[in-house]
Structure formats: C-alpha cells, structure tokens
Subunit: 284 residues, 4 copies
C-alpha cells in the first residue's frame, strides 16, 4: 500500500468533502484520516487528508492528473499530494547563541526530526565547533552593512546549490532582506524571544523585565518583510516573578526558545501548517 | 436551513467517510464540518459531522430512516442525529462544599451553559440557600448506611419525574451504588480532587501533601461501579511547593475543580464525548 | 499571642535583617516568617515579616513607637504593621459583564475572601439582580461624556461614606479620570482581557484573533493614569488555535479573567504586594 | 568580598533568625539574602542565607568554628557553609535513550550548568558516540543478574576514583541496589517518565495510554531503596488527547524528561534542595 497525504485549500463550497473522498474511493483508494477546517469569516476551506492506494507509480501519476482536472481546477484548489516518506532539506542560520542549534542537532541525531541538514550558515565563526560535533557542514559568511547584499547573494547561491527546501533561523541576529524573503515565502522559520506581539524587535527580555510582566514567552513564525509580524506557528510561555532579573529571564527563555522552535520545525516538516491572511492553520 | 450533528461510532472500514458524506450530498444536505478519529489499535472509527439541510421535518425523518437502513446497519454503526438547539436536563448532586455549585449556577445564570437545571439533590440541607439564590428546586435527601437504598430509590424517582438526561456530582460525598450507575451509564459526571490515577478515594489533597508532590490536579470522569476508575473526561493541574500546607492545597484545588468540572459538563452538553474501552474521545 | 505582619521597604543597606529581627527579639517578640527581596539594580529592599508578641495593646503601641524612632527613621523605611485579622472594605465597579462579579461574590459567600463588600457601583442597571442574589447594596450611577465629572464625584462620595479601602474594576468599561486615580493610588485593581503589554485598549480578543496568536491571556494591574500601563499584579494564559473564533476567545477568556482577578484581590487583601517603579513585588 | 551561602536545618525555635543574622553582623559580615521555611506540622526550620565578608581565609575558618560552637550546637543545627564558586563533580548513568544525555551535555557545553562531568557510565555501549562528541570519558559496564554486584562494585570504585559528588540517572534502566543507594543518600537524581505517584515502575507511558489520561508527566526525585518513591524534586506535565498513541506519548515525554531532569540538576547544584520526611524543600 502506498500512503499519501493530500493537502487542499480553496474557497469553501458545498460538497467538497464528499466529492474528494468519493473520488478517492472510485480510484480504489482509502481515506484513512481527515482533518478539516473552514474559516467561515473569510469563506476559506482547508483539508489534510491521509489516504492509501495499492496501485503502482504510473497509475498514481494518472490519479493525480485526473484529480487536478476533475476536482482541483473546478474547485479552484491550491493543492498538493505529499509523500510523507521523503525527507526535506533544511538549512540552519545561526549567530552566536548555541542553545537552539544544540537542540536541533541533538534532536536530529536522536532521530526525532525526519529531515536532512546539509548546511549551517552563520555570520560569525563561533559555532563551527558545534557543527563539527555533529558533522554538519558550516559556512561562515560575515555580514556587515556594506557586505549585506553580497553576503545574501552568497547565501542564496549556497541554498540553491544544496537544494534547500526551507530555512530555520535559530537565533540568527540579522534581518533578512525582502528580496531574500520573497524567494523563500513561508519557508523561513524564525524564533523570536518574546510573546509576540508583545516586545517585538531587539532585547525583548530587557523590555519584559522593565515592564514587570509575570509571564514571558517565545514565538516561532514565518518570516515576512515586516519584522516580527509574520504568521505565528507556535508560542509558549513560562512564569517569572520579581525574584528574577534579566539574566534569569534569558536563561528561562532558552528552554522556551528550544521547545517552540523545534515544534514549529516539526509542524512544518509534517506539512501540518497552512498560511493565509498572515495567520496559520496548524493541523494536529 | 436545518442544522444537525451526526455522531457515528463503528468498526473501522474502508470508505466510511466517502459513503457518509456522499449520502448526505445525495439527499441535498451539506457537510460543513467533520471531526474524525480512528483508534487503529482496536480498529474503532469515530466521527462527528455537522451538516445542514433545507428540507422539512417530514423529509428529515425520511432521511434518518434511509440513513439507518442504507448506511448505519450495513456498517454496524452506533449512531445518533442530534439537534444542537435542544437543551438537555441536568441534575446536580451536592453535599456541603459550595464552590462547584456556585460555579455551575453562575455559569448557567450567565448563559454559558446551554442546559436546563430542574433539580439539585443533596444529602445535607446546607446548600439550600445557594440553590435559592439561583431559584433552583433543592431536594434534601439524607443518606445513611441504613437508608441508602431507600434514598437512592427516592433520587431515581425524582430523576425520572423531572426527565433528567444526565447528572453532575458537584463534590457529592456519597458513593453511588452500581444499580444506580447502570441506569445512567456514561451519564453521571464526577469531579475528583486529584490527578487520577494518583490519589483515588478519600482525602487526596492530604495524600498529595504527604507524598510531597510538586503539582496537584483535578479529574472529571464518568462514574462507573469502580470508584474513581471511570473514563476520564478532563484533567487540569496547578503547581504547589513546600510553602503550601494541606489547607493551601484544598484552596488551590477549588479553582481546579470548578474549571475541570465545568469543561466536562460543556463537552458532554455539546455531545463531543465518545466513551469506549473505559477511555474517552473528546472532539474539539 | 498577638500576631502581626511587618511590611518594610527602604533603600538596601547592610544589616537591615539583623537589626529588625534583633529589635523584635529584644522586645520579647518572635519572628516566625521572613520573606525578603532586594532589587540590586535599583538598591531597594523589601521585607514581609510575620511575628508574634505576648504583650498587651499598650505595650504594642509603645513597640511601634520605638520601632519607628529607632529603626524606621534611621533606615528611611516606608513601613507598616498590619493586623491580619482585620477585614478591609472593597467596592466593586461593574458594567454589563457578569462573570467576574459572580466569581467574586461566590468566593466571598464561600468564605474564600477575607473582605467586606459594602458596595457595588455600576454605570448600567443590568447587574443589580446579581447584587441582590448576594444581598450587596448596588448603586446605579450612569456615566456619559457630559456627566462623567459629576458621576465620579458621586462615586467618590459613596466610597468615602462607606469607608472603602480599595476598588476592584470587575470589567468596568469606563476610564477612571486621573484625579480619581490619584485619590486611590495602588488601590484600584483592574482586569484587562489580554496578555499585557500585548493588545492594550479596546477589543483585545478581536485584535488577538486578527493577529493569529496561539495563546491568549488576561492581566490584573493597579490602575494608573496611563491606560493599561499600571503595575502588573498577575497574568494567566490559555492556548487557542485556528479552530477558535473571536466568540471562543471571549468565552475562554472569561475563565482567565475570573482566576486572574481573584488572585490579584487575594494578594492585595493579604498585603503581599509592593509597588515600585511601576512594577510589583508579590510575596508568596 | 568573599561570598558564602549558609544552609541551616534544625528544630524550629524562637529567635533563630535574629540570632544567626546578628552573629553574622557581629563578625562584620553582611546578610544579603534570606530564604526561610518552617514546617509547622513537624516543627522543622530551614534557612538558606547568602552573606558576604571582607576578611581572609584564616578569619573565615575562625568564623565557622565560632558559628558551630556558639550557634549550631546549641540549636542542634544540621548546617553547612557552601562556596557558590566551587563546581561539583557529577557522574551520568545512561542506558540506550540518548535525549537526556544530549540535553545535559549540550547545557554543559553552553555553560548553563556550573558542574564538572568527569564520567559517563553505561550498561550498554550505544551512547559512547554521544559522549565522544562532547569529549567526556565513557565507561561501559555491562550489568546482568549474575554480574550486578560486581558491576556495582566497579561503578563505586570509579565514582570514588573520580571523586564524584553526585549521580544523575539519565534514563538508566537498572535498579540501583540498596547498598549503593546508602552510599549516595540524597545524591542520586533519577528521572521517571510519569507523574508520580501515578504509574511507578516499568512502561508508564503505556499505562497512562491504557488509563486514558488527558495529561502525562515526568518526575525527578532522589533515589531511595523504594523504587520511584524517593523525595520528589521537580515535576512537569503536558496535555495529551485521544489522537495521541503510545509513541506520541513517548515523544512528547522526551521534552518533559529533559526539562524536569535539568531543573533538578540545577536545584541540586545550586544547593537549593533540603530533604526531610521523604519530601523536599526547594528554595527559589
């Protein structure tokens, strides 16, 4: 049996579920799981459907062609048939903080993440030792105001060369330029060390301390050209009190950042995220 | 448009979703939402499907008859078509603690709970004043070892008389006898003041304090004839530390109990709970 | 034995703890509990000290006089000796939402809050029925742009008449004018239905929904003349997802608001809150 | 200035705090922080006191001698003066699961843990590669029923040789014998993958799944000769639902285990844990 996951997004319309599941049944497939969501406010339909077929590759290609013509086009679907066995290729961008990098590489080494990591890129040389521990190629590409355009060109060339599917900014302390972001739309995951939209920008733990909040957070989101305003994938929080100073916030935040970023990577890898209206639908 | 919610549980089989959604489409209905679960270990299928029809009551009855004959019987379905507008009738059993009772009656008065509360039953007279504040009939039925059977008979008669659909034990400090439980299978919701299966039985906060746990909890579950071992509907926890004594545990636990019990009531009212193998499937 | 709680705030200095505890020992008192905090960044010292004495009222007054002259003045202390047995007087301000009011009055009726509630004030008549259920005097004082000054004057007169110690805004939908706030500095507790500083001002649940956050929150704080920027007392959060619409946010938020506001009231009542630099120290 | 942390546990008695802080003041020391707890039920007093002195090593030794004679002996104190700058020596015991080991070694490499790790011991050879990545000596000591006594003797010899202060069982799947436990009383930290006292012993995730709980947890505790019944240091939980199978529980549990174990190690390292009556006092 060949397993496939069908991802569908289209304007909401009567009969979509019946039409799709019936089509699969007719083609001798079996729908094993449906998760579905309708945003009634904007009339948008989302579905993640797991199915299995016993036919061969050729017939499978025919199925996709027929699905496109008979279902996807009439319903104006944004769709994809995704093979859950294939591992995507992820690049990690870092600067000097090592905790998120250690976390991702440890999870990868433990077999938690079904992904290939062909490349780590950094604007500083500091974390090369960490990359070496896990035998991942490390490219040091310094970034200054003057060299930014050239550096990004070098980065983009590497990403192409290594056939990178998506990028994780694991506390990468540089702003990605809009042109770069456009090339990897909804494919750059950032971790911001605050409970967005509170405390965007630099030094959020310092701002949180100054404001006297009782809870701090971390947020993973897709990068857009508006700083820290991209679609939120995951958030988590931890309690603080007057006994904690900024250093304590930073230390507590490290665990938050690791957990939140790794969850976002996992959701992305498992193709459970839909982006629309600068928000996300995350299937479970 | 008439809205209906279809609840289905049956052995897992190829094509169920397509068959059901297609049947609804053929009968001029529209499936607006599906939530579905398969327990692959035991091969059990669950579905909660919201749909709407524009036809009249008579045609609707015909639809149900046809669904039963053509779909439900062949698939060996345990099924129900449920009208989300109809309010169920709930009886509350209490003893002396008033916090859960206040919470339920306040939510009801605020319009949070789509339910009728025709009856409060207690083995003590203490909470009659609370019932009066909210204008709910209060029946004092004392229970002693000797009178237990007679008292339960009186309770059951009242429940029948008031056409009660389900019962909430809001810190009711009596064990319900198996005969009573059988009559309201999966229809008696209890709140236990521990994180089950830890600390079943009497005085769980005292036991938790003695054991030195760092987190305490509360659990709502359907009552079965095995004390505190029924299917769990909801659980919640709160952190404690060495500075808290048993009284603090009890006080902190009050909020937990209220939240957990009211969530369980809400899930039950909205028909989001399936029970099987002494566990629950809770649709969202 | 007479129990007393000593609250001290002063510039941090060598030997404060020893000096204070020694003074109490010399006066035949016993220090039973100390909670202490130093904000090293600003050099501020805070202490909450529970002690007991076996002497009479007259000696106790002498003790306070001696403490003031020999300890408090030399150390430039902001201090108070507080009798934990005395119940403070709290006024509740409401508008139309009833859930926080029900919660506070239920807790009061259950004996959870060691406080007197002589007065509920509202700019709408709607919640008089709730006040009546709990036998609390309810004053309807309408507020319009034109009558605002006069209405606040009426409110202030009532607060004085009833000897109110502090005010709880239990979803009171009016902005308190700076003159009013000045009279009850750090004595007006508000509940804001967002995770401040995110989403200050009106309709925070709508803004949170629009931003696509994965967690919503509620914040209790002392009211200052800057809207939603006063010192935070307590915050709590709950997870949301794409399946929840604004109405779901509002419903989930109700429980948050109740819990967070009641905790803030409890901390305030138990004199566990120190305010400085627009932040709070909350002793446990 | 020399900083020191004074740890005191003794029967509760009038005047302890004043006596201790006054003694420090007399000896030209400054008490900078006190955290204190009294368990009134059993009459036990606990204090963690940070102080600083400007005198030299010799005078410091005299201070300790004087403190012991004049304060500690009269009050029957169990006490210690601890130098927060000195790093303890920790051995890690593992079997085959690598996630906790990666987590501890990554934190250590990041500088989060103020500790030396001279030694990893395992009953399996599998994790040697992980140890090598972080350049920590790894000793493979197989354990079978027959060799258990000899293996433990070898382990104990190594622990002595490396002057190990305390041991962390990072998912070590062997029961430590009572004789071994006695030698490292309150010095062996275990991570158990359930919310104790629920689901002690083997395969707790499987038991939790079978019971249908809505929340799973992890617990770190000191090892005693009663399996999974030692004093609890830290616990944490995560929500689960019917959509999660045992494998999901195990995967979610990994993050819990890492967080809970690392917190317990941190508390232990910072000397914030007191053990009594099979419970812990954890200062903040």
């Amino acid at each position: 049996m060949k397993k496939a996951t069908l991802l569908i997004n289209c304007p909401d319309k009567k009969g979509i579920i019946a039409t799709v599941t019936n089509f699969i049944l007719e083609k001798k497939g079996n729908t094993t799981y449906i998760e579905q969501h309708v945003d009634h406010e904007v009339g948008e339909f989302f579905m993640r459907l797991a199915c299995e077929f016993d036919h061969d590759e050729e017939k499978f290609a025919l199925f996709k062609k027929a699905f496109n013509e008979q279902i996807a086009i009439p319903y104006a679907m944004n769709w994809e048939m995704y093979n859950p066995k294939k591992a995507a290729k992820m690049a990690i961008f870092v600067s000097k903080y090592d905790h998120c990098l250690y976390d991702i590489l440890s999870r990868h080494a433990s077999g938690e993440l079904h992904v290939k990591i062909p490349l780590i890129i950094s604007n500083h040389p500091d974390l090369e030792a960490v990359a070496k521990r896990f035998n991942i190629p490390f490219k040091h590409i310094p970034v200054t105001k003057e060299t930014k355009a050239a550096s990004e060109a070098t980065q983009l060339k590497l990403l192409e060369e290594y056939k990178i599917d998506f990028i994780v900014l694991a506390r990468y302390m540089q702003i990605i330029s809009p042109g770069f972001v456009d090339k990897y739309r909804n494919k750059i995951i950032n971790i911001h060390h605050s409970f967005l939209p509170a405390f965007p920008g630099a030094k959020p733990y310092h701002s949180a301390y100054k404001r006297g909040v009782k809870i701090i957070g971390a947020t993973s989101h897709y990068v857009t050209s508006d700083l820290d305003e991209g679609p939120i994938i995951e958030q988590e929080i931890v309690r603080v009190s007057h006994i904690h100073n900024v250093q304590d916030f930073i230390l507590k935040g490290r665990d938050l950042e690791k957990i939140v970023l790794s969850k976002a990577i996992q959701y992305h890898l498992q193709r459970k995220v839909w982006v629309y209206n600068n928000k996300t639908v995350i299937f479970s």
